[in-house]
Point group: C2
Chain length 304, copies 2
């Protein structure tokens, strides 16, 4: 590893705290990144995404590959029980030097999911991990952008969702490279595969091939098939990944722009950005006028 | 109405096209807004949100109240069938002069959901609608921010989701003022009510009272109860709404900042913002360096 776990963890913390020294260190690492194979995992709540990720870690470790994992977690007082349970399973890899697991919370001060995730992926990539897995709990646009910008995007679902299979339709199915029907020992697995096949056939343009794999991740069943399907994405990635990385870069730049302008506001007047937010929330100032004030602060203020 | 449907529709289109004249018109309307009662409706896919909204429109129209409706739609090749079906039902109100329905797509060039929704709500509010309903299909963070910033936030679920009730946990339950168990003639409705009650009891702090209402919206059953629960939110709103409007204002300002900086980039060099996105996506430039270039464009460029 080019960077010890300890140094990497400290750098990630510095980046999270938005320390300029952290940013400089990341910029210096940037040329070392870009070699890892990125796998995104998303899908329905309760579909067993963390269990699939856990099984994939075990699979890749058995092949001698090193694995970084970024878990995107909606920070919520309600997300305790079930999600933690799955994640605890994954923690059994924590003592393995070939595995590095980190979480990103989606509900920070001002969002910032794309940026924070990108920073962590870049660090893991520069550390030299063969594979970086990005797993998301939520299925919002930011999560879709991030997971969609990987080399192989895995969407996990389960039998028996019935009409709620539309839950994975909006925006998610279109980024999938591999569809996993997990808990495939449950009744209705074949019907779910048929439904998914039908939905794939409905796609406009039928842009590219999407494989459907059945797994029982908790037992490891089907995981070798899944890894095979993921491997086949390496070949066909190319242009598609460039396009998706553009989506991610766009989101990241948007967040960084906002962060920098907010930072300029903090330095410019008492109360900073939040004072303006309160004016807008209290309807004493319209948001368009507020933004002109913010941008004036950037033009006037120091460069960083 | 202070603004005809025709003029309002044109203004919304101008705002969507980011025309400066539209922004000026909106700023002029801003003092007329702030009087409508805003109701947000969100929840599980397939729970019948549009049917609940449709039934609420009918209920409020029978009381002589005018209703604006903003539907937030994930634009996806896959969102056709089921969602359109529900929305078609709502269209029967389209010939009613007391009802105005508009959609916002979530997947624009650069996102912008909070801003676009806020603009449409402001226009409807300034038009003088008694009630503005904001309905979302997706449950991402942006949607939660927007729906959560209303005076009464209604979260719709259905019996029989089983473990997938966790789907409404992350980030959504905490913003709910009223929980609706729709399709309550299905088996398991009482169990769902019990599960929700249990989840509410688990909340840290037990901040505020949340009512649970059973409906069969397609028949109008329980809608009067729901409207009663929504009405009771008027009294208790106050500080909570200010805080939530802060969340929305924060998101809106973030989007406007990004839009203005991107616009400055477009005017500053060949290829504009997308040229920088391509540099970052192609890993030839790190995102932090890219943002410094963007902000230099703002400082150098014209003010609008």
């Amino acid at each position: 590893m080019k960077l010890s776990f300890r140094d990497a963890a400290r750098l990630m913390r510095d980046l999270d705290d938005r320390l300029p020294a952290g940013v400089e260190r990341l910029q210096a690492l940037y040329p070392d990144a870009g070699r890892a194979f990125l796998i995104g995992v998303t899908g329905n709540p309760g579909a067993g995404k963390s269990t699939v990720v856990d099984a994939l870690i075990t699979h890749y470790r058995a092949l001698g590959k090193t694995v970084g994992v970024v878990c995107i977690d909606p920070t919520s007082p309600f997300s305790g029980g079930a999600i933690l349970g799955d994640r605890i399973r994954m923690q059994r890899h924590a003592t393995d030097d070939g595995v590095f697991i980190r979480s990103v919370a989606t509900r920070g001060h001002l969002g910032g999911l794309s940026r924070s995730t990108a920073d962590i992926v870049t660090v893991m990539d520069a550390m030299g991990f063969d594979i970086v897995l990005v797993e998301t709990v939520g299925v919002g646009q930011a999560e879709v952008d991030v997971v969609g910008a990987t080399h192989a995007c895995v969407v996990v679902t389960v039998p028996g969702l019935g009409d709620d299979i539309q839950a994975i339709k909006a925006g998610i199915l279109e980024i999938a490279d591999v569809l996993v029907v997990n808990k495939a020992d449950r009744e209705g697995a074949d019907r779910t595969v048929r439904d998914l096949t039908y939905m794939l056939d409905l796609r406009a343009g039928k842009a590219r091939e999407v494989e459907i794999v059945k797994t029982v991740a908790v037992r490891g069943d089907g995981i070798a098939d899944l890894a095979g399907a993921i491997d086949r994405c390496r070949a066909k990635a190319g242009d598609l990944v460039i396009e998706r990385r553009g989506m991610w870069a766009r989101a990241q730049l948007g967040e960084l722009i906002r962060d920098r302008v907010v930072a300029a506001a903090e330095a410019s007047w008492p109360g900073g950005f939040e004072a303006l937010v309160a004016e807008v929330a209290g309807r004493r100032l319209d948001p368009y006028a507020a933004v002109e004030r913010l941008l004036a602060a950037v033009s006037a203020g120091p460069s960083r």
